[in-house]
């Protein structure tokens, strides 16, 4: 076990993949000489050169579009988008090209590539730098969507994503880059599996990315107030979704809460809840609860900003209120 920061885990994953395979390249704004806006590619340009750490113009459509072409041409590119909101400029490439070339060509074209970006509310970055798009990207067949909420997962899943022959959207969170965590370098981590962060028997709380930490912060108070134990699941793979782990947990607890940072309308949690209602109706002992961001552009003012997303205190309050009506 080695303790490292989330961004160091990502850096190490990329470094090891670059060392092992000369076809691995990374491209994006400031990934080379600058070392990446979040220091994820720090130090790599001096090891692997500008040919493999490619500083691109501010042109997201081309960053992903070029990566698709590089993958067609036999490379294994990692495209970094500075933040989720900018990825919208590349959505044509992600959705129309990256996700479809393999299927449209009957498997003749393979795209071993990764598109990485951070998302979510950081601190007062306002409406155009704070959003989350996992709900849209998870709705696209032909790409895998991983969301790294944990340092160990960040290292292992990014490595697997780079080495995998399928295109992967790898979502990070702005506030996690300096999170410390233990990485077990020799562990076998299945990137498609959810992680049971904490075991419990009365209530299943499903989350991902930074909200997992907020849920973990809320759990002691929830358990204190209700006398019940919470099982906390970090989904990690958003598409496909690890229904096996979810099923086992919900069948055990009978209660499902989903905590997500993105706007509630059309949010990813709706998929989890609808799946549970369809597949596990008679295992549910309570109406499922979604705790999500408000339907509002993310405001700049810190107080308003925090009011627009779930926080540990809000998670506690909403679960207690809901629990009182749902036999918890």
């Amino acid at each position: 076990m080695i303790e490292m920061l989330y961004r160091e885990a990502l850096n190490r994953a990329i470094d090891e993949c670059m060392a092992a395979d000369p076809n691995v390249v990374m491209l994006g704004e400031d990934v080379g000489l600058y070392g990446g806006s979040y220091r994820v590619s720090e130090g790599l340009v001096s090891k692997y050169g500008e040919k493999r750490l490619i500083d691109t113009p501010i042109a997201e459509l081309s960053i992903v579009g070029n990566a698709v072409g590089m993958a067609i041409g036999g490379l294994r590119p990692i495209a970094e988008i500075m933040t989720a909101n900018f990825s919208l400029l590349a959505f044509d490439q992600i959705i129309n090209h990256m996700s479809k070339y393999r299927y449209m060509s009957a498997g003749k074209i393979t795209l071993p590539m990764v598109v990485r970006f951070p998302q979510g509310v950081s601190k007062q970055l306002a409406a155009q730098h704070s959003e989350s798009y996992e709900q849209m990207l998870s709705a696209v067949p032909g790409i895998r969507v991983f969301a790294a909420g944990d340092v160990n997962y960040a290292y292992h899943a990014l490595k697997k994503a780079i080495l995998m022959d399928d295109p992967v959207v790898f979502i990070e969170h702005e506030l996690l880059y300096n999170k410390k965590g233990e990485v077990d370098l020799d562990a076998e981590v299945d990137p498609f599996k959810a992680r049971i962060v904490k075991e419990g028997k009365d209530l299943t709380i499903v989350s991902y990315l930074k909200m997992v930490d907020d849920v973990i912060a809320a759990v002691p108070e929830i358990e204190k107030q209700t006398g019940k134990s919470c099982e906390v699941i970090d989904l990690q793979s958003l598409n496909p979704i690890d229904t096996e782990t979810l099923k086992a947990s919900i069948e055990k607890t009978g209660r499902l809460v989903v905590v997500e940072e993105d706007h509630k309308m059309g949010g990813y949690g709706a998929q989890v809840v609808s799946w549970a209602a369809e597949s596990l109706f008679y295992a549910l002992d309570a109406a499922p609860l979604r705790i999500a961001g408000e339907n509002v552009p993310i405001p700049y003012n810190r107080k308003l900003e925090l009011a627009s997303i779930p926080t540990p205190d809000k998670i506690v309050a909403k679960i207690i209120e809901w629990g009182a009506n749902n036999g918890l």
């Binding site: 390249v25 040919k51 490619i54 691109t56 113009p57 042109a59 459509l61 081309s62 992903v64 579009g65 070029n66 990566a67 698709v68 072409g69 590089m70 993958a71 067609i72 041409g73 036999g74 490379l75 590119p77 044509d92 490439q93 129309n96 090209h97 070339y101 393999r102 299927y103 449209m104 060509s105 009957a106 498997g107 003749k108 074209i109 393979t110 067949p141 032909g142 895998r144 995998m164 022959d165 399928d166 498609f192 496909p240 979704i241 690890d242 229904t243 096996e244």
Partner: protein, 321 residues
Amino acid sequence: MDKLTAEEIYYTMVLGRKFEYAAKEHYMTGEISGFLHLDIGQEALSVAAMKAFDHGDVFTTYREHIMAIARGIEPKAVMAELFGKKTGVSEGRGGSMHLFDPTHFFYGGDAIVGGHLPNAVGCAYARKFQESEHGVMAVFGDGATNGGAFFESLNISSAWKLPILFLCENNRYAIGTEITRVAPFLEQAKKAEPYMPTMEVDGNDAVAVYEAVKEAQAYIQKSHGPIFIEAFTYRWEGHSMSDPGTYRSPEEMEIWKRRDPIARMQALLKERYGMSEAQIEALDQKAQAAVDEAVEYASKSPEPVVAELFEHVFVEEVAHD
């Protein structure tokens, strides 16, 4: 151009036109469906460019049946794809607009206007990275030159001196909109001039197209960076089967039909290469036979089975997917 090449180009052009008419016919009968974009009138450009760019990767658009055939993909595999059959080049998953075959370095079939240009640029980066002597040819219409992807691609390929040939087939119309109504000039190569050398060529003259592409191929192979060719041509049919093309005057159509690229190539074979009427007639018949065979093959081929719906989505299977 040697006689053999000229004969080969002529034959493929004729094959292409007959193929397109056959596709049109079977669209009418309902055996082909969806969008069908015909290349009739533009055969010189489609065939000569592919024959000239004899090594390297080709990225092109949804009007690509003839290019695919000229690149070496079997006509019957293309027709079967139009019929949506399992034996089609994309096993019935792509259709008319999505023909891909990496064994022929052909990444045709992109149906997002301009969307394949960044892919072509990325592939050119890979070729330069691999120190390959081959480059990339990106084919696109005049309509694509007004979008952001086009300008991003000019900028990046020029900044990084990538081995890529931008081949613009200017047929004057972006679906129903005449190009000068939405761009400040007719010649789209002007947009590329600040970034790279440009050439203009008569797209209905197979020999001129062939020579221009050969020259451009030699240029990008010497690591000079990108180059741009604009070929002027005209499609005889509408944008797709659903477009009657009423936005064009009969007079304009007549002028361009008089510039028929196949008739011009036929004349050249007789005059420059001394081929007889009978020899040409034999090529035409051979082409017709190939098209008939392709239709026969396509109509008799099996459809893909529903159980295979999820095949080819991913390389790696996941149990709980």
